[in-house]
Symmetry: C2
Subunit: 426 residues, 2 copies
């Protein structure tokens, strides 16, 4: 079936909410490591997908899934050791006072649960997020996700502060600037009678445009959250699981200790599994008085997949690879930025990198920056290199490959990007 | 590790929200068909789990999962034929004007999405549910789930009506009675400025105590929902996928045409997959203006599991088996009710049956009915037959086995229940 026919069937069966990547969308039928293959057998370099964090169809994850599916897949109302072994191991990586792990199916459910816990525990409703945050798609999570655009009403007890800016004049001071804006937002929430329950932030600010640096800039902000009596919720759906190369978790790069941590996408290498980690005392009363049973949350098969993910991250040294290959990737982008005036502010932590397209102060050839970013993303797709764009204006190239990305993959990506940039109208 | 040690580890690692079944909880390590096996090799008859609807570890589902996991597990922003084939096939079973299928990970996310669609489309917020409804655990879904108890605040735009009663004087009139109560609830919602967006009901009223009969009693209620300008959301998480023996979907037994249908638990035989089906026009504007991308929703592996579930339901005649074995099960419960004064109102549709314990008008031996139901559930567990209790007072035995349940399984269950009842204090 042709791409056009598949698109027509999608529109007819799934409706208009289902968007696809690329002007000429790809039909992917197979994956292996950092490569994807379409129905015609063409190979693509995957420089986008963080969900298959240890690589597409990793044999150890696949074997774990197949074995467990053949034995049992059930819920948490029976006793089972594997979920406890996993929880113990994962909590040990988080450190601090994060003592309990509660399982959900998706990062959205994790955000939603974290909000329920924070609001129940504090007795307050007010939440502060960054200006283009994305934290999920349930009703409550979408209300703290201004990146969804004006059609999704923000919650009445939600306020935003400006995200850290990649091009800030004094990046070291971004945390203090955000802390000052937080004070204003908290005062507004208190004046409106909502009170201040929690501050939520993606530890790498992906939808805000990818802002990793300088490590540690969040410390004044985290201190301010605590000083205002709120809980700090670190959304690690993007930055977690070795992605940033420096630490297992994005918040650890910043040296802060969140009260709640949400995680999801890469947790099971594609199997639906997500979780909330919490300081134990935060869920004592919630757990006793509020029922929370998530049928598929922590199911037997998702747990063995998640366990295999931790095994592979450790055994294949993927944290160190994210650091080393990520540094090569950032160096390659920085080198391209030096030669191509359309690129600016290449930045990254580990294998999560971003670069602005045609930002202010550089020539834009008359087209707006989002259209240029789109042209680059689609140009790369024609070169069979898959990335995407993000940020408040959609003009940040987001390069975030599976963690086994290698030096040769960086070269291929950089070469293709060089070609695409060179072919764009000057 | 002993059960006590596992319980202590659960409490320490997962926190107090994690409840377990049975006074003496079971550690299940393997499943096959309608049987579960504990760590010591003891076999249990599963008369509870609807998630593994085609049987635990069904070889065709397992093979589909293993094969697909080894090739690709990705999201819906690439084109793929299997998700479209599945959607087309599933929508054909729903009939009516239900033209679009949108995938989520869990029934909770499906409820949440249905609420978002209904509220967006109508511009109104008010929702009516039954008095002990359960529709999920996100913030928005929990607000329409009064069965969670008084600690979970109902939404301010949510009203309840009494559920149909198994012992109603005139069961045929329950739909009219509910329609009259709906009119009052709608008037309240309109007076409060919320307006009336939707009525949600589990088509077999599981948490309200299991109320299947008489088929068709919901017709006056559905007509009233439409007359008041609301959308009818059929929650098929419990009643769907051939469970009731008469039709693929619980609402079809009642001859009604819902505007939205939510489904989940049995959809992937344990793989996390759920969905919302909608009249196409309801998601046109929603889909165009609201972004809805669920990372794991409709992932490649969950889709092949769900496809295998439909294959097995068809090829093994599980709808007919649910009808035939369900009739035997109901006959056995009715026979027991005739001999044991603690049982009352045995009822069921297909392989979803309920029976009240010590309802009013029968001797209760001084203990309350929930404690008696609990004693029966735990007594059966000692006989290695697994069921649970439900209903507003927790005094309804819920017997809802995997669909391949056979006549011999009914005999074993009924024999064990007979023994447990005989051993209870008179």
């Amino acid at each position: 079936m042709s791409g056009g026919e598949l698109l027509a069937r999608r529109r007819r069966l799934l409706g208009p909410a289902y968007r696809h990547f690329y002007e000429d969308p790809v039909e992917i039928v197979r994956g292996e490591g950092v490569h994807l293959f379409d129905a015609a057998g063409n190979e693509y370099l995957d420089a986008y997908n963080n969900v298959p964090c240890v690589g597409h169809a990793h044999p150890r994850v696949v074997a774990a899934i197949a074995d467990q599916a053949g034995r049992l897949n059930t819920h948490t109302r029976y006793l089972a050791a594997p979920i406890l072994d996993y929880a113990e191991r994962l909590l040990a990586t988080l450190g601090g006072g994060l003592g309990h792990l509660m399982f959900t199916c998706s990062g959205s459910e994790a955000t939603d649960l974290a909000l329920r816990i924070a609001r129940f525990q504090s007795g307050r409703r007010g939440v502060v997020v960054t200006a283009n945050a994305y934290h999920g798609l349930t009703t409550a999570a979408s209300e703290v996700s201004p990146s969804l655009g004006p059609a999704v009403a923000p919650g009445e007890a939600v306020r935003t502060i400006a995200a850290p800016a990649p091009g800030a004049a004094d990046p070291e001071r971004e945390g203090e600037r955000m802390a000052a804006e937080l004070a204003v937002a908290v005062a507004e929430l208190e004046a409106a009678g909502h009170g201040f329950a929690a501050f939520l932030a993606d530890s790498i600010f992906s939808s805000d445009g990818v802002v990793p640096d300088p490590a540690g800039f969040l410390r004044p902000l985290a201190a301010a959250v605590a000083a205002h009596g709120g809980l700090y919720v670190a959304d690690e759906v993007q930055a977690g699981f070795a992605r940033t190369g420096e630490a297992m978790w994005g918040f650890q790069r910043h040296g802060i200790e969140p009260d709640l941590v949400t995680m999801g996408k890469p947790m099971g290498n594609g199997m639906p599994i997500a979780a909330v980690a919490a300081r134990a005392e935060l869920v004592e009363e919630f757990g006793r008085t509020i029922r929370y049973f998530n049928t598929f949350g922590g199911n037997s098969v998702s747990i063995v997949a998640a366990t295999a993910v931790l095994d592979v991250i450790e055994d294949e040294g993927l944290l160190a690879n994210a650091a080393a290959t990520g540094a090569q990737l950032l160096a390659a982008l920085t080198e391209l930025e030096g030669r191509h005036p359309l690129l600016r502010h290449a930045r990254g932590a580990g294998l999560f990198t971003g670069v602005d397209v045609a930002a202010a102060g550089k020539p834009t050839a008359g087209a707006d920056s989002a259209a240029l970013a789109d042209a680059i993303v689609n140009g790369l797709r024609r070169h069979r290199v898959l990335i995407a764009a993000t940020g408040p204006r959609g003009d940040v190239l987001k390069i975030r490959p599976p963690l086994p990305f290698a030096a040769a993959d960086v070269d291929r990506l950089a070469g293709a990007l060089d070609d695409v940039l060179a072919a764009l109208p000057a």
